[in-house]
Symmetry: C2
Subunit: 463 residues, 2 copies
């Protein structure tokens, strides 16, 4: 670690490397760039923020950092929920938000090459112009970047059928810890030339290299007929039964989302959607097989919903109507944030264990005297218990942290993983230790040390 005088000197030298309009050092900016959406995790103002405009800019920051013993925290849009982009003493944040150009859309091979700072929805819109589709759809798709999605291996709503970010990343341009730039992966449909370093970098949360460009695989935009089926259930158990039955029937929906009572009430109190009274849990299903085959699958989902005790079962094929039915899902998070600071959990359990896990979360609510609302990618067993505390209530915040730990422990007990799609960052470090064990963590440390021997890149995150 360098001394304060050293770092002051270092920041002065940074001004020799970049023009003034690419460096932020004012207190407001340093605060704004000091953490991502995981404010519950530790953070400190960085020494400076560099607004990179090219891969070469990133390489220059990293080389400069290496020379001055400064650590680099890469940052996309700062929408992470685990603290992966939180700054710490003696660090500089390199923001890739200005690297927001889609460089190539190749319709013959169905791929796109994009700079890391392109917003997920913007990429989706851009490739749609060429009749192509980029499936991974994290709930943050309107505000998160492809680079951040790749660094955290982001999931989303349609993953249950279409897979996560890693499944779509064919290749990367990466700035390594010594400031050298490499191209990893390929643009061909298949390839097994060497280790899967592309896949290793995806989800490594900026600890092995800074991702500056991403080559993503695309699917044809056409060929899917979307239908939504929704149903209200009298209990979490009844909804859980429906989820299990859909899986057992061999139906793979394009989305299968669960919204619990606490969440529904928060949305309804805010937006007055006129939800049916006396309901507990909402399931939202999307089926996108084409034609009569898809209609038949949707019929089966309706039957399963009804048999499991679902009421007010509705069906839609019109895009606007589907959007309306999924409205409660989209509004859930902002509706809950109105009630106070939200600590977002992200666990994934075996599908069959979803009802048990939800029951344990209810028990945790009682035991720790906290409010927990649940949104779940139920078809994946990926639950997001959202722990809400009143503004300024420090005692409640402490209880929320205890509840967070209890949920992680319960998840591991049921054979789950401590993070389904948000990443480890800082918040899940204790849980990860319990999940992986010392030997596998030592493998992580060995790989990290092999690719970043000076620990320049985002040290202390991800494992």
């Amino acid at each position: 670690m360098t001394t304060t005088t050293d770092t002051d000197t270092a920041v002065r030298t940074l001004h020799r490397v970049f023009p003034a309009d690419q460096i932020l050092t004012d207190a407001g900016s340093l605060e704004r760039y000091s953490h991502d959406d995981a404010e519950w995790a530790e953070y400190t103002a960085p020494l400076a923020v560099v607004l990179a405009q090219s891969t070469d800019d990133v390489a220059r920051v990293v080389r400069w950092a290496g020379e001055h013993g400064v650590r680099v925290v890469p940052r996309g849009a700062g929408t992470g929920l685990s603290g992966g982009a939180n700054a710490f003493p003696g660090s500089v944040v390199v923001s890739l938000e200005r690297m927001n150009r889609v460089l190539e859309v190749n319709t013959d091979e169905r791929y796109a090459v994009t700079q890391a700072g392109v917003i997920n929805d913007a990429l989706r819109a851009e490739v749609a112009k060429s009749g192509l589709w980029y499936p991974p759809d994290p709930a943050s798709s309107a505000i998160s970047t492809i680079g951040g999605n790749a660094a955290t291996n982001a999931g989303g709503i349609c993953c249950v059928k279409y897979g996560v970010t890693r499944d779509y990343v064919l290749g990367l341009t990466v700035v390594l810890a010594d400031g050298e730039v490499v191209t990893l992966g390929r643009k061909t449909a298949k390839g097994v030339a060497g280790y899967d370093l592309t896949g290793l970098l995806v989800g490594s949360e900026g600890t092995l290299g800074v991702i500056t460009e991403v080559t993503v695989k695309l699917l044809p935009l056409s060929g899917r007929d979307e239908r939504a089926v929704i149903g209200f259930f009298p209990s979490l158990e009844a909804a859980g039964t429906a989820v299990a039955e859909i899986s057992r029937a061999g139906i793979i929906p394009a989305a299968l989302e669960l919204i619990d009572h606490t969440c529904l009430v928060a949305v309804d109190e805010w937006q007055h959607l006129g939800l049916p009274g006396d309901v507990d849990t909402l399931l939202l299903c999307r089926i996108d097989e084409r034609g009569a085959a898809g209609d038949e699958l949707a019929d089966r989902v309706e039957s399963i919903f009804t048999a499991a005790g679902g009421t007010d079962v509705e069906r839609a094929t019109d895009p606007d109507e589907i959007t309306r039915l999924f409205l409660a899902r989209r509004l859930a998070y902002p509706a809950l944030e109105r009630l106070g600071p939200v600590l977002t959990e992200d666990i994934c359990v075996p599908r069959k264990a979803v009802p048990t896990m939800l029951a344990r979360i209810q028990e945790t609510t009682r035991r720790h005297d906290v409010t927990i609302a649940n949104i779940a990618h139920a078809g994946d067993g990926n639950l997001h218990p959202l722990i809400i505390t009143p503004v300024g209530d420090e005692a409640a915040k402490a209880r929320a942290k205890e509840a967070f730990d209890t949920i992680v422990a319960d998840c591991l007990d049921l054979g789950g993983t401590v993070t389904g799609e948000h990443g480890v960052g800082l918040l899940k470090l204790p849980g990860l230790r319990a999940e992986l064990g010392e030997r596998v963590l030592a493998m992580h440390a060995a790989v990290k040390n092999a690719l970043d021997p000076q620990a320049t890149l985002n040290p202390g995150k991800a494992f």
Copy 2:
């Protein structure tokens, strides 16, 4: 490197670790286990072969090897085509063929846990009993093992739609270079806990750890209606046009295979299939969408085939009829092997470059005076030029090796990769160097050194 006396002593000590029926040291066995199906690559008889029966057996071999300075070559069924399982001086082969039990099939979560030595088709048959499907289908599926498939990230015929082995490996049990056993990955549908070490081990060709158990993701067996469409084309170019048009139309077939004239003639001369006269190239397409939507896609494939100059276009929905139509594909390799030793290429180029690459291969045939037949996973741009030499003709063998190098160079020139699905092994080491460059190879070496500092596991392979 240990001396001869040392290794003799070492092999004697091996008999203290394993009972006699798990160690092979006779000349016949040593020869049989000294190479995989890439006889063109270098190999030497190993010191001994250990027939492992458990993960613990593998751990004991690796620990013993580390203590005696012996190298370990892991081996599944020895069906590899790049020399990844070829033995070298001072090595011991550990065969996992006896570890052939499927340990668990979980219908709720749709995964199976299998020992590494289970044959691909045997796993497929086992999970089918539970209504589940394991898609990856290398041409060697009747004889290759899941462990070998994972170690090489094997592809196959249905990858064009369903992905390769890595896309289905959720978790692994691995013996590390120091003989410790770790469990990597997960059994949940999603998970981002730590680096993707599972994906790193898949395709690492036994150089980072020995895979002893594999947890694979499964799909529902039902929900697909298979149809085959075949067509004969007057030229490679015409067939290439049809392939490009299918891609451009946004159709993703479940298989799209190309068989060239040399291959067709070899099959017909052997099996007298009564192929239509005056044809050059055969395309085989499989469409598996359900119901009318699938029928419509098959109609479009037929139209595309005909528009591109295809003749004798045939269609089948009956499973036996589909099998008959795909017969020429299945018989291609054995039909060619009747003509002499076959040097199998495995390159992958952008789909659009398939006709150009095939034209360059024809040019290579002339320039190097060799016989080359082509089978291709055309929908992926993955070509298998098969270079055939007369038995015992050493001059022809030398020309074949030159042709091999020319094809690799042409593939790189067209933006392709030197190995689409067979792996690097030994045969593709020069091509890999050209493809990846020194810095990315240095990353490989750093990762290898981090996880296997004594270079105990299959050194000299894969990169």
